[in-house]
């Protein structure tokens, strides 16, 4: 009877021991984290070496490398069969690959550890790094958004009290304007560099903000080219002039008054704000808004 009881107790404790061991395995697994950090080619056509970094808190052992492309997922090798693939925390390991594995930019390379933890990455990203911005820095093409401003095509013009352009005044370069110039209109040049046509509305403004007293900013509202719906259409890849005349958004009734240059002698920043819609290729429209800060300020001279 005593031996039976001993046997039962031993079986029970043995069970507890294996459950504890399994919990330990799960705990260790949760501490594993590996990241693919590099991929080298030989003669630019075949994979030669893959680099893996252990970013976890426990030593790992790499046991499998796969390649998955659009047509198949293949087990390439178990590198532990020909080299020591243990990686200590915060360390990296370069593992050579069998010869003849073609480099496919769109394929993913997958590395798995002995505890079944994986990491995967596109081969092209590992070889060439993340994609770079398509454009290089060009001070003449500063834009963030679909409308690109042409900085060298920027003028102002005297207007009458009803907002019409004064025929006796020419267009002046916009970089400086005399103090007390009175009613005036601003003309800027933009190009639609988006892949969709744009329509801007009457709330689009040309804002002049004095550096010394920003609260005294003056807005000039859009003079719409389409007087029916009070908008302006900007086709893709075409350059257009935009005219700003009004002190408040243009009304169909035509009761608006033009904005007047009333600022004292000062230097101002200029902000262009556009509101409107994109014309999507499926015929729908989506909202559009953009702000363009001028790189250079305008000056009100004495």
């Amino acid at each position: 009877m005593f031996s039976i009881l001993i046997g039962l107790l031993l079986a029970f404790f043995d069970y507890n021991l294996v459950v504890f061991e399994q919990m330990k395995i799960e705990d260790e697994r949760s501490q594993e984290k590996i990241v693919l950090s590099g991929l080298e080619l030989d003669n630019e056509t075949c994979l030669s070496t893959v680099s893996v970094k252990n970013e976890g808190t426990i030593e790992v052992k790499v046991r499998a490398i796969y390649v998955a492309n659009s047509t198949t997922t293949t087990l390439v090798c178990d590198p532990s069969t020909y080299m020591d693939t243990h990686i200590a925390p915060d360390n990296s390991l370069n593992m050579s690959l069998p010869t003849g594995i073609s480099f496919e930019p769109d394929a993913k390379i997958i590395v798995a550890t002995e505890r079944g933890v994986k990491t995967k990455e596109y081969e092209a990203l590992l070889v060439f790094g993340p994609p770079k911005p398509e454009w290089e820095y060009d001070p003449t093409k500063l834009y963030i958004g679909p409308l690109m401003l042409q900085f060298d095509a920027f003028w102002y013009h005297k207007t009458r009290g009803d907002g019409t352009l004064d025929p006796n005044d020419p267009w002046h370069p916009g970089w400086s304007i005399p103090k007390g110039f009175g009613y005036c209109a601003w003309n800027i040049t933009v190009m639609n560099i988006d892949y969709r046509n744009i329509t801007i509305n009457r709330f689009s403004t040309f804002n002049v903000v004095p550096n010394d007293s920003p609260s005294n900013q003056l807005p000039w509202y859009l003079e719409p080219t389409n007087q029916t719906d009070l908008t302006q259409f900007l086709p893709v890849n075409e350059t257009r002039n935009i005219l700003y005349i009004w002190a408040d958004p243009k009304e169909a009734s035509g009761t608006n008054r033009p904005q007047k240059m009333t600022l004292p002698e000062c230097t101002c920043m200029v902000f262009l704000t556009f509101f409107g819609v994109f014309h999507e290729h499926d015929g729908t429209t989506t909202t559009y808004a953009q702000t363009i800060p001028f790189e250079a300020a305008i000056t009100v001279i004495g």
Partner: protein, 156 residues
Amino acid sequence: MNTLKVNSDRKALSPIFATLIILAIVTVLFIPVFIWSTGLTGETKSFWHISGEIATERIVIEEVNLRGGIQNCTIYVRNIGKTAIIVDDVFISSPSNSLHVYEKADFNTDPDSVVQGDLMTVTISDLGGLNPVGNVTYTVQVFTSRGVGDTYQVVA
């Protein structure tokens, strides 16, 4: 008149013989109890043993090669538990909720059994009624002989 005289010095059974008889009776009575308890103990030990094996059985599906228009499938299964495993069943379900069951006879495993840390390749050479469609997500489940399994989603 006859009188019955009891002789207190006389005994019906000797004490030794009586003790032997008692021991014999107890032993005979205990035999079925012993047999029952031994069986019960064996069953209990077996229960703990099997429970322990199931508790330490753990697999992970590492990768699945299932592609649209291709009538075979390869599943890479790693044993990450203490117990050696044998794969018995593979289930593949499609987004239309059709479940395809593949039993031991329907696939090959290489090797037949793997211990902790090792990889098993399960190859289904003919998917039967399942025709994988490209860019559709399928759920693959692999189960061992003790009913332990893992699930993996793959885009064909």
